[in-house]
């Protein structure tokens, strides 16, 4: 982004070599196996929120143009190199490169993210539904209760209060729309969670202020910190 912009608009020629030549202060993505393209894939595979080409470029220490070129290239590759719609009926199996992958790279509102391919929605949907219950587990309920009364609160803090790891439960609650991300803690940088309006709806109340009062003797977050964090390593 803040580097030289030579040649990035003219197609996408060998981004790896370019990257290796240009950067000396950031990570040298070109020297890694698979090069800059694989580095970009690595990032795309694990990010939860769509990332813009600019964000990706700055993380990879490459120019935006180069990254945009690679993104389009990857998108086409995942689609099986067919230019427009994949040739679905044929499903000819002459090497993997011509076959669409099960995932696709989509550019939505300027952000890029990998999704499972739309054609498999029925299969994926069936898999997702398998074993799902309409009821929250006790662990999920207790975690929700702690978040409701101590929001905004980080996962680490909820873990400290409950004495167990709550990562997967928090994911479930988020997925269920009961809690949401409410920014990051300025000190620790941890994501803070709060309850949603859907939660209020399910509880049948107008705001969290209407939740019944708890005993005043329960430790607040400050107290909890002393109680449970003392032993943290």
């Amino acid at each position: 982004m803040n580097h030289t912009r030579n040649g990035d608009a003219a197609g996408h020629p060998a981004p790896e070599a370019q990257a290796a030549a240009e950067n000396d202060d950031g990570p040298d993505v070109g020297s890694l196996p698979g090069g800059a393209r694989a580095a970009l894939e690595a990032v795309l595979m694990v990010i939860d929120q769509p990332a813009t080409a600019t964000e990706l470029a700055s993380g990879l220490n490459l120019t935006v143009g180069v990254v945009e070129g690679m993104l389009v290239e990857l998108q086409r590759e995942y689609n099986g190199y067919t230019v427009n719609a994949p040739d679905v009926d044929d499903a000819s199996f002459n090497g993997f490169s011509a076959t669409p992958r099960g995932f696709e790279l989509r550019n939505i509102a300027g952000g890029w993210r990998i999704y499972s391919r739309t054609e498999f929605a029925d299969i994926v949907g069936g898999f997702v539904l398998e074993g799902q219950t309409a009821r929250l587990t006790q662990a999920a309920l207790e975690t929700l209760a702690v978040i409701a009364y101590r929001q905004p609160v980080s996962r680490a803090r909820v873990s400290a209060i409950r004495g167990v790891n709550v990562d997967s439960v928090v994911r479930t609650l988020t997925q269920r729309g009961l809690i949401e991300d409410s920014g990051t803690d300025p000190e620790s940088g941890a994501i803070l969670y709060r309850t949603t309006s859907y939660f209020l709806e399910r509880m049948g109340i107008g705001s969290v202020a209407e939740l019944p009062q708890l005993s005043p003797h329960l430790p607040g977050l400050e107290g909890i910190e002393e109680f449970y964090d003392a032993g943290r390593m």
Partner: protein, 283 residues
């Protein structure tokens, strides 16, 4: 600079790690860990290690850390205590005349020595694999799993939540979850106690010795010199045993009055070998 002769960290200290505690002895200079390694490989005789010097140096080292405001001094100090205590035990065992193994006591001594050594090695083994595990965890932390939120259209497929909690019930859940937990119930740990075991058999011998020499004594008198409740209990149990063996008789004039104990078995009539097995096994 080259001849300052007091390197801050030994050459064995791995780069990037805090230099650990170093020992300086007549016959050894280097990290404490290396000293342990040599002893466990029998390349250095524990009897030739001046433990008091090691301890003095360690105290100096810890003080220096504290002055620097280092937080991990406590960690290192407790670890040092474990190892130093083991070394001390080991050294004591080694310094006793070994000679030839003739009686049971010698064998017991050898066993104790082996056990001490085993304990040291076991501790070291866990320390070692802990280091390996730490390295693995760190390496694995360089892989990030894909765990993205469910795409909207899949999340919409999830069955509608069944929600039957009233706000009051929900508040109850929060109360329970937020209440500071009592220390989790566990057994009363005894492993850290090193109280001398009290033997009922020994106490019986002692009581026998006092009683058979002369006049009847009260229970109060018999426990007057007991240094702990445990000893009182052991003496009481010993008396019951003696009573069962018909070696003593009891007299109590008033309810809750003094209990007088009288020897009835004669001077040679009883030995502690008569004691039933159950107490011997449990001590």
């Amino acid at each position: 600079m080259a001849d300052s002769g007091a390197p801050a960290a030994g050459p064995e200290a791995p780069a990037g790690k805090k230099p650990g505690f170093e020992v300086r002895l007549a016959n050894f200079t280097g990290p404490f860990d290396l000293l342990l390694g040599l002893i466990s490989k029998h390349q250095l005789d524990i009897t030739e290690v001046a433990l008091s010097t090691v301890t003095d140096e360690f105290i100096k080292y810890i003080k220096r850390l504290q002055n620097l405001g280092e937080e991990w001094a406590l960690d290192e100090a407790s670890e040092f205590l474990v190892i130093a205590a083991t070394l001390l035990d080991l050294k004591a065992a080694r310094l006793l005349p070994a000679g030839e193994v003739e009686d049971e006591e010698d064998i017991a001594l050898l066993e104790a020595r082996d056990l001490l050594f085993a304990r040291l090695l076991q501790y070291k083994a866990f320390k070692h694999v802990a280091g390996m595990m730490g390295a693995t965890l760190e390496l694995e932390a360089r892989r990030y799993p894909r765990q993205v939120a469910l795409e909207g259209h899949f999340a919409a497929l999830l069955p509608e939540l069944l929600w039957r909690h009233t706000p009051q019930q929900f508040a109850g859940l929060a109360e329970a979850a937020l209440k500071p937990r009592e220390a989790a119930p566990t057994e009363v740990g005894l492993a850290h106690l090193h109280g001398t075991p009290v033997s009922v058999k020994e106490q019986a011998e002692l009581l026998g010795h006092r009683l058979r020499l002369g006049a009847p004594l009260t229970f109060r008198a018999l426990i007057a010199d007991a240094e702990s409740t445990l000893v009182v209990v052991a003496r009481f149990l010993a008396l019951l045993e003696l009573f069962r063996d018909k070696a003593v008789a009891f007299e109590q004039l008033l309810p809750l009055g003094d209990l007088t104990v009288r020897w009835t078995a004669g001077v040679e009539g009883w030995s502690s070998g008569n004691l039933s097995e159950e107490y011997e096994e449990q001590q």
